[in-house]
Amino acid sequence: MTAATCNDVSLSWYEASARQRIDALVDAGSFCEFIGPELREISPHLAIFDLPEQFDDGIVVGRGRLDGKAVLLAAQEGRFMGGAFGEVHGAKLTGLLRAARALSQDVLILFDTGGVRLQEANAGELAIAEIMRAVIEARRAGVNVVGLIGGRAGCYGGGSLIAGTCSKVIISEQGRLSVSGPEVIETNRGIEEFDSRDRALVWRTMGGKHRFLIGGADAFVDDEALAFRQSAIVALKISPGCDVAVLAAEQARLERRLQRFGEVEDAVEIWQTLGIDQPTEIPARPTGAFLRAANNRESADDAR
């Protein structure tokens, strides 16, 4: 077998489209899309609201090869309706995960989502539940499901719940992972609780570095498609599985984490407690220096 080749042009994951991310992630030319835009499988709801549709409903699904290994992929387009889950969007991902279980092929989910689409909220919420079930069933059947987070929309709402069920999560500094978004928190709890326009606050609370440090993500990478690719290749080498022992260990870890950090007011205090030298400098550190400083981070388990 010849060595797999990939696209080696520098590409910012944050800036790239869903299609560009997939092209840059898999072995060159290996991607084959399911239910492509030419089938026009669009949302049945958006027209009712006189809103623009997208031919792929904001998610690209298909199969490809990663370092020679057959994988299934889904990539959300964060610029179309904030990458939010609707009926068709969700069904494409559910179907992919069920196929993964049937085919025993690992799955990569390229998250870029604000959560559920308001205009099709019931269908979207149902889709989130179906997807989480499908992830767990696939994992129980020995399939690895890896989440990649580093897009414009981050990974919020139902998307963050799905990410929580993945075998591994890879994140970049630009990526944000949180159930509630900054505006939602500010609206519900007031600007004193959370100033959504204070971007430094948003990133040190929800951003990739913090999520990696508290064990919400397993790998931290540069905002480069190639870095995501390398990390995904490594992530798929883990032994699969998801059983009661894994979940119990995770529950214990989360309880410990809450006990240790439950009272702190700001992420910087957590970093200080973790024993990080010059914790206020964490946001400015380039990847190499950050990873060295992150030696004592909270570890993540297979579930989170």
């Binding site: 520098s10 910012s12 944050y14 800036e15 500094e173 630009q174 326009r197 204070d198 971007r199 430094a200 606050l201 990133w203 951003g207 570095k209 946001p283 400015a284 380039p286």
Partner: protein, 548 residues
């Protein structure tokens, strides 16, 4: 004659009234209302320091909190009407008449108040014009200014944001006016003396820094492919052939794109050391990659920019800095430099008409001028030659004896044919004309007059107005780069082809530029973070611009 010396006597009375509320020169904050009531007289001409960047915000609030029964009918003469309190002063009836230059964020409210008769407008000026009038017929009786620190003698340190302060103090204090400064803190010894203490009568310790707006920060993440294309056209079609070394850039994403293309696209064209070596310019964060790549020899600044302080201090080979290490900015000098010592101004605008007049006024907003009309005008008093100036002069007037021919400053308007919400850049009639009619103004607020503008650049191409020989040619040259706007679609295709043959209109393909090559990968930095990294961590962007 016994009547001489009345102004000195009046100042003496103000000083005496002020000293009742001061310890030496220092006015404690609780005594500020009584102090201001004592030193300001109804009908005074008052300069409340503030421009598009720094603001004497604490003194502005204190002035707005006065009782209009005590102080009223003030005539405000100030660069910027920017803070809500600047207009509260009029709303409450403390001030009546206004002469100003820039209104930015208050542009909608100031328009409403002008229509409602709450403000009696003198005129909207350019910065340099208003400064000039401070010395002729708009000299302030009282100036309320802002600085970083003061000593007990009133010596002031203004830090990187010196901006208008020396001009305001010079005009006020040397003409028997009273100068009051708000400072962050009072210290034993100021880091450098920007304003000598004898010119400053009172100081107030605010306990916090004066407000500064990060007006010149443009996030590279928001630069579009079309803006990159227009930037490529400007660099290859104007910077290169004229060899523009001394220039000013207006605010905006188009010029930010140019700055970020210099170390990449400009380098590829072999333009390093040939263009963009000297600037009259604020410390734009998007200049960092070009400075780091060794493009820029020298920059003089109108003001500073939030977060750029440490970077500027570490690059004193490029910027003007004081013995304390930090930037020395000066708006009056920099405006003069931009007018007389620069060969080009390039900036964007909101509306351009068929003659080439341009304006940033819309019917519901009066944003003022700031410095752009001064930067974007041809100085008739200029006498020193330079290659771009002579070349532009020759293009405008090829037949005159070269030794008797004026050169021309290059004044370039750059923008996309459609702006926000598909608003066309090109119009039959400027909104500024309607506004002038409604407010019964003698002059429509025009940013750059038609006879000053030399080039218009859009994604469709470059129109060289210097080479137009008739009004009709000029109109078609403008239509020829107006894209799919109504103005652009009403073009005379045959005439435009002729203009293109003569090089009056240049398309991307005429310059060897493929629009499909206009890619964000060409930008030397694609995010604020990239700029921070390019600065070696010296640039510290304000929180609202960060995504890390």
């Amino acid at each position: 004659m016994s009547d001489w010396g009345m102004q000195k006597a009046a100042l003496g009375e103000r000083l005496a009234a002020g000293r009742q509320h001061a310890r030496g020169k220092v006015v404690p904050i609780p005594d500020l209302p009584a102090f201001l009531k004592g030193v300001i007289r109804s009908g005074d001409r008052v300069c409340l320091e503030g421009d598009n960047q720094k603001q004497a915000d604490m003194l502005a609030s204190a002035l707005a909190n006065l009782d209009p029964r005590d102080v009223h009918d003030l005539h405000m003469v100030q660069s910027g009407v920017v803070l809500p309190s600047h207009l509260d002063i009029f709303e409450k009836g403390i001030a009546r008449r206004l002469d100003f230059s820039y209104s930015g964020p208050q542009s909608a409210r100031i328009a409403r108040m002008l229509f409602g008769g709450k403000i009696e407008l003198g005129a909207v000026h350019t910065y340099l014009e208003l400064f000039a009038r401070y010395f002729i017929d708009l000299t302030p009786n009282v100036a309320l200014i802002a600085a970083v620190s003061a000593d007990k003698d009133g010596n002031l340190y203004t830090g990187p944001n010196t901006e208008d302060t020396p001009t305001v103090v010079e005009a006020t204090s040397y003409k028997n006016g009273l100068v009051v400064a708000q400072v962050t803190e009072i210290v034993d010894k100021v880091p450098r003396v920007d304003i000598p203490g004898d010119l400053v009568h009172f100081v107030v310790e605010a306990g916090r820094p004066f407000y500064v707006e990060p007006l010149f920060t443009r996030d590279p993440a928001a630069i579009t492919e079309t803006q990159i294309l227009t930037a490529m056209l400007a660099i290859k079609g104007i910077y290169a052939p004229y060899g523009v070394r001394r220039l000013n850039h207006g605010i905006g994403f188009n010029t930010a794109a140019i700055e970020l293309l210099l170390p990449t696209y400009g380098e590829k064209l072999g333009l390093k050391d040939k263009v963009c070596t000297h600037f009259a310019l604020n410390p734009h964060p998007t200049m960092i990659p070009a400075i780091e790549a060794g493009w820029v020899e020298q920059i003089h600044c109108f003001g500073s920019e939030v977060g750029m302080e440490d970077y500027v201090a570490a690059r004193s080979d490029v910027f003007f800095t004081g013995p304390d290490g930090s930037l020395r900015s000066n708006r009056a000098f920099c405006q003069t430099a931009g007018l007389y010592a620069c060969d080009m101004f390039i900036g964007s605008t909101l509306q351009i008409d068929l003659e080439g007049h341009s304006s940033t006024v819309t019917t519901s907003r009066i944003a003022g001028f700031g410095g752009a009309p001064n930067m974007g005008s041809d100085p008739r008093g200029r006498r020193h030659p330079s290659e771009p100036w002579l070349k532009a002069g020759a293009e405008a007037d090829p037949d005159t004896n070269a030794a008797l021919r004026r050169g021309r400053k290059l004044v370039v308007q750059i923008g996309e044919t459609f702006g926000d919400r598909n608003t066309p850049l090109f119009v039959e009639r400027l909104d500024a004309l309607d506004l002038a009619e409604e407010l019964k103004l003698d002059l429509a607020p025009v940013m750059v007059y038609s006879d000053d503008v030399t080039h218009i650049v859009t994604e469709e191409g470059i129109a060289n107005l210097l080479m137009c020989r008739s009004k009709d040619e000029r109109e078609q040259a403008i239509r020829g780069v107006a894209g799919y706007t109504d103005i652009g679609r009403a073009r005379d295709a045959k005439l435009i082809e002729q203009l293109r043959q003569r090089g009056v209109i240049q398309r991307p393909e005429d310059l060897g530029i493929d629009p499909l090559d206009a890619d964000r990968n060409l930008l030397a930095a694609r995010s604020i973070k990239d700029l921070m990294l390019a600065s070696g961590g010296l640039y510290r962007p304000p929180s609202r611009f960060r995504n890390w």
